[in-house]
């Protein structure tokens, strides 16, 4: 597994361009994220008026959570729409056999394609909803550029964690053939445990402690806390937050590798 930088850059650029082609779909997605942003923002205003300071956020921070999570929804691949359906289809149709004898590593190939997609969707689907949210409501966005850079790093790590989970889903097709069932379950789990429905810091008691340790927390909750500086005190909190994401990313990528070697041993190419 040699790291061939120009190749992976080209693969990522391909992923970026591929999604950049569908401008209508992107515009439609921006519209949807904005509509949902408004709906959820009103419910959070009602909730935080009833209980100010809920989950350690004030109202502006709660609204920031709403709009940034809408902006990150596509990037972090929470609602599907990433590569794993395609990978499953390639397994079902047998195209995967061609992929496997290519001189490029399967996992890295899809990782860079997906990071290219994530980069496009961060720009294409993230900027406008966040700007609308910032115009319509008072948000707690930081002015410090360093914090934004840390946020981008955290988003990148979150995207890798998200990729690693979806890669496992994609490989599941080797055993299940039809992946739509697991995809749906995975979407449900991701939406709930990432904090998309309700910030994980609002989840009560031991259940809350537990969900904040799961990998889905790395996709949304952690990047948001890094952005708003609510990740825990000072530098140590920051290191812990990013370290948490990195640990999950490496663990899940490793699992993906194990699954990949198990799956490739299973492949029978039907010749002809």
């Amino acid at each position: 597994m040699r790291l061939h930088v120009p190749l992976w850059c080209a693969v990522a650029a391909g992923g970026f361009r591929r999604y950049a082609t569908y401008t209508t779909a992107t515009a439609a997605g921006v519209f949807t994220n904005t509509v949902f942003g408004f709906v959820i923002a009103y419910t959070y205003i009602a909730l935080w008026e009833e209980r100010p300071g809920l989950g350690g956020y004030d109202q502006a921070q709660a609204l920031t959570f709403v709009w940034v999570s809408q902006a990150l929804l596509a990037t972090s691949g929470l609602m599907g729409g990433g590569f794993h359906e395609e990978l499953q289809q390639r397994v079902r149709t047998g195209d995967i056999a061609v992929d496997l004898y290519r001189p490029a590593d399967l996992q890295l190939w899809w990782l860079f394609t997906d990071l290219g997609r994530a980069a496009f969707q961060l720009l294409g689907r993230g900027v406008v909803p966040l700007a609308v949210g910032a115009l319509a409501f008072e948000l707690a966005l930081p002015g410090d550029p360093v914090r934004w850079l840390l946020f981008l790093l955290s988003v990148l790590l979150g995207a890798v964690v998200s990729f690693a989970i979806r890669y496992l889903l994609g490989l599941a097709a080797f055993w299940l053939l039809d992946g739509s069932g697991v995809n749906l379950i995975a979407t449900v789990v991701a939406i709930f445990f990432s904090g998309m429905l309700l910030p994980l810091s609002v989840f009560p008691g031991a259940f809350g402690e537990f969900v904040r340790l799961l990998p889905w927390a790395a996709m949304l909750q952690v990047p948001l806390d890094v952005l708003m500086g609510t990740q825990g005190a000072g530098g140590a909190g920051l290191v812990r937050a990013l370290g948490f994401q990195l640990a999950w990313a490496l663990t899940l990528l490793g699992l993906g590798r194990l699954a990949q070697s198990a799956a490739t041993r299973k492949v029978v190419v039907q010749g002809g």
């Binding site: 959820i40 209980r51 709930f192």
Partner: protein, 316 residues
């Protein structure tokens, strides 16, 4: 599966008795009758056209149900997943109520009533019409052309193609919340109010369906814009789960008078709960759901017709 589907549909209406008989009881009988009626039925007015559409819808849906049952494990997971996806929505609301007693002045059972009504309606719509959001993709890949040459109304084909029985999960989950809410809430029941509950569910289904059809028609113009449709259907559904009191008045006016989603659950639920309408609508408005559901279908079906007429194939 994709290749097998259209071929199956193509054969059945063509009066191939052998394949219809072999295709299993329900659909077999249906397609036989369809083939027998057809010569007289063509061009015999809108009523028989609607029946034609329904029959075609039933045939295609049955075929997809049989296809789904080929992968039983996947189907079972999808059904559970569908129940869970809406279930978790409600869990999120429940978690909010671990911190507060009222949201926008509404208690948890009251919000459960709103939630149950709109989720059941939306679940039914999603089951029956949910696949219309694929229209943009069909225009792009040209599969709509195949539908245009078949002797079944295009809307019925678009809605029934890839019919997904698993979407029943959402309906069941919505009904469960609705039943819980009705059993806990203290409503002053009258015969009219009892009747209002099923009537509202059906009217809500009609309203959501009209939005789906209009959204699909929009994709004739806009191309692959399924997400715009989703933001009105899924987005509307999410909004209706919460009490109207928490939203801005302008938004309430828009979803009452422009796109009348408020009649899916807000207006009738406020009446059942004996709460004043935030826009001051009179009490009888609660019973206006079916009328509204009928009224919104007029622009939706006109838009659909205009869309089909303006359709030019991708041509390649």
């Amino acid at each position: 599966m994709g290749a097998g589907g259209p071929a199956g549909v193509g054969v059945a209406p063509g009066a191939a008795e052998g394949s219809a008989a072999g295709a299993g009881s329900g659909a077999g009988a249906g397609s036989g009758a369809g083939a027998a009626d057809r010569p007289g039925g063509r061009g015999a007015g809108p009523r028989s056209r609607a029946l034609d559409g329904l029959r075609g819808y039933g045939l295609i849906a049955m075929m997809w149900i049989r296809a789904t049952m080929t992968y039983r494990t996947s189907f079972a997971l999808m059904l559970v997943g569908n129940m869970a996806i809406t279930g978790l929505d409600f869990v999120a609301i429940y978690l909010m109520f671990r911190h507060v007693d009222v949201l926008g002045g509404f208690t948890l059972p009251e919000i459960a009533l709103l939630y149950g009504l709109c989720s059941t309606s939306f679940g039914l719509t999603d089951l029956l019409m949910g696949n219309t959001d694929r229209l943009g993709a069909r225009v792009r890949d040209g599969s709509l052309d195949t539908m245009l040459v078949r002797p079944v109304p295009v809307l019925a084909q678009v809605a029934a193609d890839r019919f997904a029985l698993r979407r029943l999960g959402r309906v069941v989950q919505g009904l469960a919340v609705l039943v819980w809410a009705l059993s806990v809430l203290d409503v002053a029941w009258t015969p009219g109010r009892v009747l209002l509950v099923p009537m509202t569910v059906l009217a809500g289904t009609a309203i959501f369906s009209a939005v789906m059809v209009a959204g699909a028609a929009f994709q004739f113009v806009a191309g692959d814009a399924a997400e715009v449709q989703n933001s009105f259907t899924y987005g509307g559904n999410t909004m209706l789960q919460y009490p109207p009191t928490i939203f801005a008045k302008d938004l309430l006016r828009a979803v009452t008078f422009v796109l009348p989603l408020a009649f899916v659950n807000w207006v009738p639920a406020l009446y059942l709960l004996g709460r004043p309408d935030p826009l001051g609508l009179p009490g009888w408005a609660a019973y206006a759901g079916p009328l509204v559901g009928f009224a919104v279908f007029v622009p939706a079906s006109l838009a659909w017709r205009a869309g089909v007429r303006s359709y030019r194939s991708t041509g390649s």
